[in-house]
């Protein structure tokens, strides 16, 4: 098997144990089940889904902040999920993360310089203080922060600037993969746009792979090349951006897209709410069969019994839905 560049995740499963006291067996909360995905260098994969569907868990699992129940994570062909902790330390600088709450993800008691230098201090201890500072300033320049800001504390920055600091920290080791977990959700529209533009720029310059997690479809559409839709820990659909938005096949994807509002009042006048009801079922005991069948307008008896397979469509989309896949079965 030739080493494949970029990130490959196969059959990833993660469970949380929910303890209910010493006299009860811990309940298992399957947060992710059999997730596959691939991100080539320089590409962005957008992950969308409702709150609690396992988006953050996916990010944490890839970075080994969370133990796996099953599956493999490969980075540039190497199965990093199987590495020992010391061996993984070698790979870790390759993968960095940007967080949701920009200010909260910076230690309020550290100077910007030290925050951005923390990855260097951890993984490149051989660097001298001056070299380290040099690298930090380079990263700051890349994300559009002025050098004199290096000696300030996080609370002196607005949300947008703070997120730039977070991004600078993530790129200072020149990683190959950037994982953005709701990296722009907490930002105002104007600031969000700044950060999105910055991320695109960095991807171009550094050839980054980006795993872009968001619940906001319009943002994902803006930045991602491919899009993965999660529902209750399962991949229900994955497709290149244009395919997904042009022809969403899974009823859940359709409902998600159908729920997004437009800033154009004329469009909104005509916009019908998608016909899905209810709430996300409890993730502790997800419904049998297709997890979405409880809310699905197209559900058929089979949906309550068997989990549909994720089948590949000719245009590169993959869909896990009995009904949709029946329409146009996968090319063999």
């Amino acid at each position: 098997m030739s080493p494949e560049a970029g990130l490959v995740v196969e059959n990833l499963s993660v469970s949380y144990a929910i303890s209910r006291g010493p006299f009860r067996r811990a309940d298992e909360l399957p947060a992710l089940r059999d997730v596959d995905l691939t991100i080539a260098p320089g590409r962005t994969l957008g992950v969308v889904g409702e709150s609690g569907c396992g988006k953050s868990t996916l990010a944490r699992a890839i970075l080994r902040l969370q133990s796996l129940k099953g599956g493999v994570v490969r980075w540039n062909g190497e199965a990093i999920s199987a590495l020992s902790e010391p061996a993984f330390r070698r790979v870790r600088p390759q993968m960095q993360m940007v967080f949701q709450d920009p200010v909260a993800s910076l230690n309020p008691r550290m100077r910007v310089l030290d925050i951005i230098a923390e990855p260097l201090a951890t993984h490149r201890p051989e660097l001298s203080g001056a070299q380290r500072r040099q690298k930090v300033l380079e990263a700051m320049e890349r994300v559009g922060l002025r050098p004199e800001m290096a000696d300030r504390f996080p609370h002196e920055f607005s949300g947008g600037q703070a997120q730039r600091i977070g991004i600078a920290r993530a790129i200072v080791l020149e990683p190959g993969l950037l994982i953005c977990d709701e990296a722009v959700s907490a930002l105002d529209v104007s600031i969000r746009a700044q950060v999105l533009v910055l991320l695109e720029k960095l991807q171009r310059e550094m050839g980054l792979s980006i795993l872009f997690i968001s619940h906001d479809l319009s943002v994902v559409r803006q930045i991602a090349h491919d899009i993965l839709v999660l529902y209750l820990g399962r991949v229900v659909e994955q497709a290149p951006r244009d395919v997904l938005f042009a022809t969403p096949r899974h009823p859940y994807t359709q409902a998600l897209i159908g729920s997004v509002l437009s800033a154009d009042p004329r469009i909104e006048k005509a916009h019908q709410s998608p016909p899905i009801g209810g709430d996300l079922p409890s993730p502790i005991d997800p419904p049998p069969g297709c997890p979405f069948h409880t809310r699905c307008p197209l559900a058929e008896p089979i949906c309550a019994q068997a989990m549909p397979g994720l089948e590949t469509w000719p245009d590169g989309g993959r869909v896990a839905c009995h009904v949709a896949n029946r329409e146009r079965p996968a090319a063999a």
Binding site: D188, V189, Q194, V197, I257, L261, A263, P265, R266, E268
Partner: protein, 333 residues
Amino acid sequence: MTEPLLGVKHLCVRFSSPSGPVLAVNDVGFSLAAGEVLGVVGESGSGKSQMFMALGGLLAGNGRATGEAWLGGRNLLGLTEAELNRVRGRELAYVFQDPMTALNPYRTISAQITELLRFNRGMDGQAARAEALRLLERVRIPEARRRLDMFPHEFSGGMRQRVTIAMALSNNPKLLVADEPTTALDVTVQIQVLDILEELRREQGLAVVLITHDMGVVARLAHKVMVVYAGTIVEEGSVEEVLLAPTHPYTTGLLASMPDIRRPIRAITPIPGHPPDGRQERVGCMFAPRCFKAEPVCRAETPALAARTGRQRQACHFPVAEGEAPLARAVAS
């Protein structure tokens, strides 16, 4: 023209804070008729919430509101706390952003709703319970009867927000202030909650103030829009006017920053810089430092809110003409 339901004039909200006074809302005036939905948009910290908290006397202890706010023939800003408490819930109701914490976690849903019915509408226990059930069904809580005696934490976020709406509407208020009612919700739930709000408005004829930073929410529900920047109204008009033909550079900038899923993909254009925090000195147009059209006069003179281009009003010396901006370019793809 009929007497508007709500008339606000020269509303200012000030806070005293350890680092000096904060002018959160600066000389704001507007009006709202019954059955009308006013969308209030603007970036975080622009003063949207405080503007309407001031009306119900709900400012934090260090805040003070001045000006006039006429509702049902009374100036809310001149009322005592006791009088205001009678206005709140009966004429003026609120729904807040975070449904997770807006309900008392220690009391059942029915206790919290019937309490309002008993105190504000003088119902007895039995009737109040029946009415509570009706209200829950009204906001489409599934299995409402069973859920009546549950605690808030047993509800999902969307259901909780529906409960707070039911509570707010329990006393048939004339004006509902919905402060980011759907921001914390998933999109699929958001659209359901918005639909319920719209339905209730239509049926009960109540006026709604919809505070949000999401232009989509405004586009779906609002009739009128008010764009707020740094505590002042920078643009105001009907929803079509403001969203389709924005005239203030700030409004155009906001719209250009927002990707829109229902339109072709185009490159987004951020507004440079970041918003002021309420402590700055106020000279000239507060948006001038970030404005692509700013001229020296903008930094010196505060533009008044006036209709310079047509019906809609803007506080800008150099309103944007149709087509000049937004600088949104469709991505060739």
